[in-house]
């Protein structure tokens, strides 16, 4: 191959790290964390402790792994091809997250359109109701014919959830302003609007926690409130967890911005986190419409 003789500028080379301890440490961390979780669920005393140790190793791994990547990035070891790999990787990761939520949205859809009407004797299932011999009204929201968890009320959509929608949508705007600022090299605007996005993110999490407390204390709406409680808390809970993660990621990026990381052309980490933020935003819109409103 004649091609092999030509000397390339180093930046032409796709950066391949020689070796890294972090993946193995990460595997140990995951194993310890879920192992501790399994022990805990099986009522072993060591469970919570093992799980805490697992989380500790996990945090250590994240700090170390991302630390190494940030160092390499700031040393300009990543050329455009590496940057493209990161972008594609992030996009497909977000797609996998979309599918994870799809499972729970699917459960909600199935319960509302099939299992609940069928329990109410819809279609050819008239006997279901007669055999069970109760007066179960198959209407959403429901905790099933067993009235599992007792009577409950639902959170009205146009109260706190609508405010939360406004907060998240606004945070989508502020992060976009920050994105334009990073591209224009306007660091002051970047720092202010990214900081604002983080504040809005944590405000959302705070209000969501408030809503959960309200639900448990005043609405008798619990995780155990039949299929409504199950879908409500699992969907909003996983979403809230993702918002929290996203806000923490934004915070890391914010500190990096303050330290002067990133350039107008080289800021994958910022964009990746921004995409993630838009993703949690879109999921929330789905939640607002299908969980709270309709």
């Amino acid at each position: 191959m004649a091609h092999a003789q030509t000397t390339h500028a180093p930046s032409d080379k796709y950066y391949v790290p020689h070796s890294s301890p972090w993946p193995l440490i990460g595997s140990i961390a995951l194993f310890t964390t879920v192992g501790g979780g399994a022990l805990w669920l099986n009522h072993a005393q060591a469970g919570p402790w093992v799980m805490t140790v697992g989380f500790g190793i996990l945090l250590f791994m994240f700090a170390g792994w991302f630390g190494a990547v940030i160092k390499e990035s700031e040393a300009r070891m990543y050329n455009d091809a590496v940057d493209r790999s990161f972008r594609m990787g992030m996009m497909w990761f977000i797609f996998s997250e979309v599918m994870f939520f799809a499972a729970f949205f699917g459960a909600l859809w199935y319960a509302r359109n099939f299992s609940v009407p069928w329990l109410g004797g819809e279609g050819t299932r008239a006997l279901t109701k007669i055999i069970r011999g109760d007066n179960y009204e198959a209407a959403w929201p429901t905790d099933g014919p067993g009235n599992v968890g007792g009577d409950f009320d639902v959170i009205p959509a146009f109260g706190l959830p609508a405010i939360n929608t406004a907060i998240l949508l606004t945070s989508g705007v502020t992060i976009t302003i920050a994105h334009h600022a990073i591209k224009a090299g306007n660091r002051a605007v970047l720092n202010i609007f990214l900081g604002l996005t983080i504040l809005l993110g944590f405000l959302f999490v705070y209000l969501q926690a408030h809503e959960y407390i309200e639900a448990y204390q005043h609405y008798n709406l619990k995780l155990t409130s039949g299929i409504y409680g199950s879908t409500f808390f699992m969907l909003t809970g996983f979403h809230g967890f993702h918002v929290t993660m996203g806000a923490i990621m934004l915070t890391v990026i914010w500190f990096r911005c303050l330290k002067g990381h990133f350039t107008p052309t080289h800021h994958f980490a910022f964009e990746g986190v921004a995409w993630y933020w838009h993703f949690v935003d879109v999921v929330w819109l789905g939640l607002f419409v299908f969980v709270y409103w309709l």
């Binding site: 191959m1 091609h3 092999a4 180093p10 930046s11 080379k13 796709y14 391949v16 790290p17 020689h18 070796s19 890294s20 301890p21 972090w22 993946p23 193995l24 990460g26 595997s27 995951l30 194993f31 879920v34 979780g37 399994a38 099986n42 792994w65 040393a75 300009r76 070891m77 493209r84 790999s85 990161f86 594609m88 990787g89 497909w92 990761f93 797609f95 996998s96 599918m99 994870f100 939520f101 799809a102 499972a103 729970f104 699917g106 459960a107 199935y110 319960a111 299992s115 609940v116 329990l119 099933g144 067993g146 599992v148 995780l223 155990t224 039949g226 299929i227 199950s230 808390f233 699992m234």
Partner: protein, 531 residues
């Protein structure tokens, strides 16, 4: 800044040449070949552990009556055999092949995200430590079938959270592996290699990776709901709370059906590489093969309920899923036709990879036909949960997926190790495997049609003859695989030197044959030009 840049690059270049010394090479690996090797050796180990469980199952079924194990342990064996073979043997073996071959075939220096590559591998030994560990906890291993249907699976003892978390870990590993495959293919191809110039194995893996990212998270969601139903009082799968156990089956099989194609599409890719080499003709209908693979992948998302015809669903649902399922025969038929047409008037030779490929072609097609029978709703009412189903999916998975893996190993092993293996022994391994696999699984069709249920440790005496024959086939097949392990390890240790092209008399296509055998540690330091 430019100065720092150069200094770093020079530094990297310096110690980037060879593998690290000692165990660190494997524990901290970032090299696609090292990680690919670990994946494949891990999958071989799992193949023998899952295989040992199959031997226990066949030993118990050798005669009617209960002789060896108690029924609960028997059920643990069927459940664990499936989980280990699917998630531990077949899937990691294909990911290992992807790791080794995709950078070589697209002309890349390595996988796109080398550290994440190592992460997706190293999660697996831990996940399977947890899964196999369930055998030793109070209540024993999961015994409700690998599909984990509630409410039965909710009766699992202390193994339950371990099962769920092990599945989560495997899912995380698969998703990261799949992201790496897609990014490598989309971003790391040599200049000039447009999508429709990619080797067909790369194409099938691209589509497989897409399926993996789309469905593994759904499985994670499904098992998470099982966990919260069990421990946290949710009622996703309990009618009393307005949920439905059937809902689990829908979510599970939305994952499960694409999953079975995840285990066969890369196999199609392997066969499509091997048959042209030893027919000395280009692959017949390359474009059609690509489109057929994509069609199969698309259809895999809209056929899931054919796994649950007997569970009760509206007539419209049964009709839709029956017809959609039958539609899959069209692209699959295109593939079988094209393989046959590639061989037609070819100058064939029968080296071990080609033998396994031809065996795949015939025996996988038998599995496909029994699949068509199962797709017919009224017929399925009879076949459901009988040994006919067991025969069907073992035909597509053993002489299908597993034979393709054997074929791949015999095809690329000289490229990987730089040594030829013992051809005579490999051919013996082929004949033993092909004969015994049929003795093992063909009688199970008869048993199923006669009404023998699956997942039952004892049976009526009318089923005795075929069960004994099937068990003999099982033991023979299991023992023959020891030969495979011997051939592989002997080839790693030494043997006749392999040339760069390896199959000099054949017509191997693809960039991997332009590199030395074994290839340099960093496959393509400079991207080759593809015309």
């Amino acid at each position: 800044m430019a100065h720092a840049h150069d200094a770093h690059a020079a530094h990297d270049h310096h110690d980037d040449h060879g593998p690290a010394k000692g165990i660190g090479r494997w524990l901290f690996a970032t090299n696609h070949k090292d990680i690919g090797t670990m994946y494949m050796l891990f999958s071989l180990l799992m193949f023998f552990i899952g295989g040992a469980m199959a031997m226990i199952i066949r030993a118990e079924l050798f005669k009617p009556g209960m002789q060896l194990v108690d029924p609960i342990f028997f059920n643990q064996m069927t459940t664990m055999h499936a989980l280990i073979m699917i998630f531990g043997a077949v899937m990691p073996a294909f990911v290992g092949l992807a790791n080794w071959m995709i950078p070589l075939q697209v002309g890349a220096p390595d996988m796109a995200l080398p550290r994440m590559n190592n992460f997706s591998f190293w999660i697996l030994p831990f996940a399977f430590t947890m899964l196999i560990g369930t055998l030793f906890v109070p209540g024993g291993a999961p015994a409700g079938g690998w599909t984990m249907y509630p409410p039965l699976s909710q009766q699992t003892g202390e193994a339950f959270p371990m099962l769920i978390f092990a599945v989560h870990l495997m899912g995380a590993s698969s998703i990261m592996g799949a992201i790496n495959v897609i990014v490598t293919i989309m971003n790391m191809r040599a200049p000039g290699m447009s999508l429709l110039k990619m080797p067909i194995f790369v194409w099938t893996w691209l589509i497989t990776a897409y399926l993996l990212i789309a469905v593994m998270p759904v499985l994670a969601g499904a098992v998470t709901m099982l966990l919260t139903d069990h421990y946290f009082g949710t009622t996703f799968f309990e009618a009393a709370g307005g949920g439905d156990p059937v809902m689990f089956q829908h979510i599970f099989w939305f994952f499960g059906h694409p999953e079975v194609y995840i285990m066969i599409l890369p196999a199609f890719g392997i066969i499509s590489e091997i048959i042209p080499t030893f027919s000395r003709k280009p692959l017949f209908g390359y474009d059609a093969m690509v489109y057929a693979t994509a069609s199969i992948a698309f259809l895999s998302f809209i056929v899931w309920a054919h796994h649950m015809f007997t569970v009760g669903m509206p007539l419209a649902g049964q009709m839709f899923f029956m017809l959609a399922t039958m539609l899959i025969a069209v692209p699959t038929g295109v593939k079988v036709f094209n393989w046959t047409a590639t061989m037609f008037k070819g100058s064939l030779s029968f080296e071990p990879p080609m033998l396994f490929a031809i065996s795949f072609l015939f025996l996988f097609t038998i599995g496909g036909f029994s699949g068509l029978m199962l797709a017919i709703v009224p017929a399925d009412f009879q076949y459901h949960d009988t040994y006919f189903v067991v025969a069907h999916f073992h035909y597509v998975l053993v002489p299908g997926a597993v034979f393709s893996l054997m074929a791949a190993a015999y095809y690329w092993l000289p490229k990987w190790t730089g040594h030829m293996y013992n051809m005579k022994l490999a051919k013996a391994h082929f004949w033993l495997s092909t004969i015994f696999v049929n003795v093992l699984f063909f009688p199970q069709h008869f048993l199923g049609l006669a009404g023998m249920p699956r997942r039952i440790p004892d049976y009526s005496t009318q089923f005795a003859d075929w069960n004994m024959i099937s068990s003999i086939g099982g033991f023979g097949f299991g023992l023959s695989q020891l030969l495979f392990a011997y051939i592989v390890f002997a080839c790693i240790r030494g043997g006749e030197k392999a040339t760069d092209k390896v199959w000099d008399s054949g017509r191997p296509q693809g960039l991997e044959w332009t590199l030395s055998s074994p290839p340099p540690y960093h496959s393509f330091e400079t991207a080759p030009e593809v015309k």
